[in-house]
Symmetry: C2
Subunit: 84 residues, 2 copies
């Protein structure tokens, strides 16, 4: 599993849409706080590989492109650990 404190360090770019506490800044974006860690990792990998595409996935692809697998695991651990 990822390292949630490392994930917090890496979450600066995510905050604009997903909020500083994992509660989305706008209702068309998903809350991430308390979401399943495995699901978050799977979704981020799907954006990275392009398996998820269309709609808001196109936005996410840009954010995820530069993330390593370790970054993805850490971010998934960080958001899963936040209180919903």
């Amino acid at each position: 599993a990822g390292d949630s404190s490392a994930g917090q360090q890496k979450s600066a770019a995510c905050m604009a849409c997903h909020g500083a506490d994992g509660k989305a800044a706008a209702p068309i974006y998903p809350n991430l706080a308390g979401q399943n860690e495995a699901y978050l990792g799977l979704a981020l990998h799907a954006y990275k590989t392009g398996a998820r595409s269309g709609g808001q996935a196109e936005v996410m692809k840009a954010f995820v492109a530069g993330l390593s697998d370790e970054d993805i695991d850490d971010l998934a651990a960080y958001y899963a650990g936040l209180k919903p």
Copy 2:
């Protein structure tokens, strides 16, 4: 906005993966309880139109194909209203 009690009636097919209380039955599926209503509606419409594809979206497309716009609004209201 949708009618959450109508949404509850329509959620039988969703429970297998998303849980009776909106907490996913398996960690690779997303929790829906307390998710943003607008995001849920947007995601369901994207599955219905095929705008979201690939990965687990292919599973969701099958479940969403038969839903009307009103069904989608009601389900989004139902899950958004559940306690995360």
